[in-house]
Amino acid sequence: MMRIPFAAMLGLFFTGVYFFMAIFAGWIAPYGMAEVVGDSWEPWSWAHPLGTDSIGRDLLSRMIWGGQTTIFVATMGTILSFTLGSVLGFIAAVRGGWIDQLLSRLVDLMMSIPSLISALVVLSVMPVTLPILIIVMGVLDATRVFRLSRAVAVDITVMDYVEAARLRGEKQLWIIFREILPNALSPLIAEMGLRFIFMVLFISTLSFLGLGVQPPMADWGGIVKENKDAIVYGVPAALVPAFAIASLAISVNLVADWVLNRTTSLKGGRG
């Protein structure tokens, strides 16, 4: 029986709750996403547990629907950045030579501009839709995954079993997917947690700046933006989604830490 430390348990529990609410938002949310049900910024009550927002929509429902958008975009972005980054990273490590040089220098270049700035530059001319947001965030973040997976794969390609596979005459795709991928999986999975958090913060920041998910769709960063004016009157509506973002980030962080510890302490290497 595997012992799970308390912190990781807590992280797993909250991550699970957030994902559950995101997936079943349609059944859980008491009101519709854009349904106006009361006055603006009503205080917390039984009918509206978190009060209402700037134009009288139920904040709890907005939060649940918004969580769905935020988590969906972040998950898709993470999947894209991982597929792109790790495949290119493995190819760079296996092929070496000019392909490696080209990809590595391109990544260096992309990382020389802060990703928020790059995203803003690109979004200034692109139509801001969910697929575009996912692609922009995924591609920008793939640079980090590329660096990690290339570094991990370079260590693996010099192993005897890869040499043996090469001598057997296996194709490069076999080497990448059957020899390198299984051995590189655990550091990559730990990294995935961190990238997911980064995606959540990224999409929330973009939406907060008004350049991410567009109204009337809800997402956590956007809810902060809609309700920020109430803060000076002492209405904490804008702090609710911000706390959701922070607690999701911390929970995933706890899980990722545990995965990382477990895989590095296991017999002194990747398990």
Binding site: L109, S112, I113, L116, V121, S124, M126, V232, A242, A246
Partner: protein
């Protein structure tokens, strides 16, 4: 040629090359599009005449390479073009904002850097005991929280509940220094919190790394006090990694500033950039992108140079 000088020349030219490549990337980023820039700026309802006008104004009828070279040479002479939305000269309107942003960032850095190093030292001194745990826990929390949340918590607590600082940082020309400090207090506090966590954790890791070396053990066996060992023996040897950490985080500050300026409606570069991204004012966005990239690359370059200069093996070759 002295090897250090050679390395420095190498690094600086590499930095310039990187900046040049970044300018290409920024330019290309605003050009590769499904469709036409003018169409995207004006939307579907645009008439053919306005489209043609905008294309001519943007110089879209020239080939991309010509446009890029024109833009680059003008930018190198300090001419960043004119804004599409109000026709003002970008360099002029950017100048004052850049000053404001740098003022804010420098204020934050002056507080954050010494604080992070001292906290890092304390955490190493009491490693594994409660001061270390408290510092690490609090900084971990500030790292996981988005910048705008820190901003609104600061507003909620400090300006709404206790009414210490104003929630909007309005600054104007000829403002008395103390008033200005009062106005930027909240954004500066938030920026400090944003970078403090990373900086302190990385400082702690860098010093802990040095603490494992043989000369530290010797110092311990000599019976020196723990704090003397850290300050006299470990810290000088950890200068290179610590400076590196500080510079990387100052570069990160450049990004944090964008969000924080929007939260506090501070008239700086970040606010300027975000405003014009939503207005789809491409020349302003390109210019801002270039300035941000230059600052970011420059700070990374300084980090590189300091770590070269602080290495005695490079300074005094055999």
């Amino acid at each position: 040629m002295h090897p250090v000088l050679k390395l420095l020349v190498q690094r600086i030219s590499l930095g310039l090359l990187l900046l040049f490549a970044a300018s290409i990337l920024i330019f290309v980023g605003t050009q590769i599009l499904p469709g036409d820039v003018a169409q995207n700026i004006l939307g579907q309802g645009a008439t053919p005449e306005t489209l043609a006008n905008l294309r001519a104004e943007l110089g879209l009828n020239d080939p991309p390479l010509t446009r890029y070279l024109n833009w680059l040479f003008a930018a190198m002479q300090g001419d960043l073009g004119t804004a599409l939305t109000n026709g003002q000269d970008i360099a002029t309107s950017m100048g004052k904002r850049l000053g404001n942003t740098l003022f804010l960032a420098v204020c934050a850095a002056i507080i954050a850097v010494p604080l992070a190093i001292v906290l890092g030292l304390i955490a190493v001194r009491y490693q594994g005991r409660w001061p270390d745990r408290v510092i690490s826990g609090v900084t971990l929390a500030t790292v996981s929280v988005p910048e705008f949340l820190l901003g609104y918590i600061a507003i909620f607590v400090l300006s709404v509940q206790f009414r210490v600082f104003p929630s909007l940082s309005t600054v104007y020309d000829g403002m008395p220094f103390l008033d200005r400090m009062n106005a930027i207090a909240l954004p500066a506090i938030v920026l400090v919190l944003v970078v403090l966590g990373h900086m302190m954790r990385m400082t702690r890791a860098a010093i802990l790394n040095v603490m494992q070396s043989a000369y530290v053990e010797t110092a311990e066996l000599k019976g020196l006090r723990k704090f003397t060992i850290i300050a006299r023996h470990a810290l000088p040897n950890a200068v290179a990694p610590v400076v590196n950490v500080v510079m990387l985080n100052l570069a990160y500050l450049v990004v944090g500033v964008v969000v924080v300026e929007v939260v506090f409606v501070y008239p700086g570069m970040g606010q300027y950039l975000v405003d014009h991204v939503s207005k789809r004012d491409v020349p302003v966005v390109q210019a801002c992108g270039l300035v941000f990239a230059a600052v970011y690359i420059g700070l990374n370059l300084v980090a590189d140079i300091v770590s070269i200069l602080s290495n005695p093996r490079l300074r005094h070759p055999k």
